[in-house]
Symmetry: C2
């Protein structure tokens, strides 16, 4: 049976100051009235029953989960005391899913991406499930056809078609985030796809791969207490190797294939990428939300919190994000700048606004 | 006897969004724990008794006056229903002061300037009072020696020394705000002073000058009801000619002289000029107040309201002023930009934050 695992452990800071440690991106209503995690739920709940949808999330976000996903079963929430990247989270989910269903096929998908249309996504997942049914060894990925030379994504180099399934292809190699020239080359060659971090595989298959490639991690996961509320769960979890499923398994496994997506995909990874999804005025400004008055201002991104007015004058290429207790004013164009900002805020003791 | 008239009718928008229609600049604590109007009061209250200090202010600011100036006598507050520039305000004050003291000499001074040291100011005023005592016809101004080629002030061209008083000089001419080249020339010539808007004269003398130069205005002032709370005070006041005392009287009167100031003077006329009074960090940034974290930011001016953190990244030459309900983010260097901002906010119906 097909189970959905929504990966909601992200504590991303890329939408600071709107996102916080206590309110990560997946709980924000960035692109619709529904938060990103609600959109992820909707994406599968139409065709997978709630008792086969689980969520892996940070301990402290349980109340947010309850608020955002009222149909989520409380026994299908797997809590991480702290982030340990995707391999431990996926391993934990696989173990839990297997308890319910020894033949479980898992759809693993991030809680904070935008995918459209949902029907194309469903069809792609069903195709992947068919691949796994035909060949239980297959680890199936979804690849996104690059529409620009992105340097912020990992790439999948595709190889020969998978026998019998026209669109799926073997994965030739994984390529880490490239520099601009390499990304341009990938774009031209045409056989490179973005790795969307969406996977379909049998739960027992990914666990045996973990046992083979990361035996210590697999053993530690198997020995975890059943409940994350157990006394030593946190200390044991903290000792798990922090590693991505890509690096732990996928890059080494011979049975990895990829389906080129027929759906639109956006990881909405930054203020910049969010702004690209929204209408701009004739000067190229995007007001994400709130009351703003832009005077002689160009190519800027502005968000004003409730009951507040943001007023700009003479600006070019700026990002202004106002929230109740913190306001960010940044020059556009430096993708790393927000990371530096967060580091400096930590160093300066501004923990209350992180 | 010497009376002080503190001119507090300003409704300036130059410190928006910190200053508002309901909280003009003179009530802000921009340069010390004492608001500018409190500093104006302190400047004269050390040597002029409270019953000879009066304030001309906007109707709606009476509660602020009471809060800021607890020693101000309530019968020495003269309220304007709306601003009509300085000539009507000074004429009203002169009429009121004369009721108390037919021989009154008035020191007229704005409520929103910074002057230092106070002793030098007192000495200068006493010297001016002496001039008036020796020659009751004299209208005495204070002139500030320009220390740069300012284009934002009116200039006084000085003439021959006043007989018997070494520093005072006759006023040769008034020069409106000059262009940059003219301002440079004034600076080089050495006989030009900034007009600080501080005056000493007999109350009866300025009234007779008003009667001579602006008979309609003088007559209307004389016919005003005694109390600003009288039924028709507002409509009568609204019909007064809106004109400065400089333009109404001083530029035409043959008996105007100027004392070059021995005190430091600053009209603190903009965020820029306020920033010049405050320490800058090694990148030229000035944090006026509040919690700020400046990352890779240069030559910027930042103010954060209580309980809020303003965070900047990659900025150059910006002004960021955060208040509870409005935040301004502007590029430095365009002195007129704030005026345009206010106009646009009015046009867009943002009256609640003006």
């Amino acid at each position: 049976m097909l189970h959905a695992v929504i990966m909601a452990g992200g504590s991303g800071t890329r939408f600071w100051p709107l996102s916080r440690q206590a309110l990560p991106k997946q709980f924000l209503r960035l692109t619709s009235e529904r938060s990103l995690i609600q959109q992820a739920w909707d994406r599968v709940a139409a065709w997978i029953p709630p008792d086969r949808i689980c969520v892996v999330a940070g301990n402290s976000h349980r109340p947010l989960l309850t608020e955002h996903l009222p149909d989520l079963r409380s026994d299908r929430v797997y809590l991480e005391p702290m982030g340990r990247n995707t391999a431990p989270a996926i391993g934990l989910a696989a173990l839990k899913v297997l308890e319910h269903d020894p033949d479980a096929v898992m759809l693993v998908m991030p809680a904070d991406h935008v995918i459209d249309p949902e029907e194309a996504f469903e069809q792609a997942v069903l195709q992947a499930a068919e691949i796994v049914q035909n060949d239980p060894r297959q680890l199936v990925l979804f690849g996104i056809r690059p529409h620009y030379a992105a340097t912020g994504y990992g790439y999948i180099e595709t190889g020969a078609p998978l026998t019998g399934i026209s669109q799926a292809r073997r994965v030739q190699a994984f390529r880490e985030k490239p520099d601009k020239a390499t990304a341009e080359q990938y774009l031209q060659q045409g056989n490179f796809l973005w790795n969307a971090g969406i996977f379909v595989w049998r739960a027992d298959r990914i666990l045996s791969a973990l046992r083979e490639r990361r035996p210590q991690l697999a053993a530690s996961l198997a020995e975890l207490p059943a409940s994350s509320e157990a006394a030593d769960f946190t200390s044991r979890w903290s000792q798990l190797e922090s590693i991505s499923i890509d690096y732990a398994v996928l890059e080494h496994d011979p049975q990895v294939c990829v389906i080129p997506a027929t759906f639109e995909w956006d990881d909405v990874g930054s203020w910049e990428s969010l702004a690209r999804r929204l209408p701009a005025d004739e000067r190229g400004n995007v007001v994400i939300q709130g009351a703003c008055s832009l005077v002689n201002t160009n190519s800027s991104i502005v968000l004003a919190g409730d009951g507040h007015v943001v007023v700009t004058s003479g600006l070019e290429d700026c990002i202004i994000i106002h929230t109740a207790d913190a306001t960010l004013v940044a020059k556009r164009g430096d993708a790393e700048s927000l990371r530096k900002v967060i580091e400096q805020l930590k160093a300066e003791g501004f923990d209350g606004i992180l």
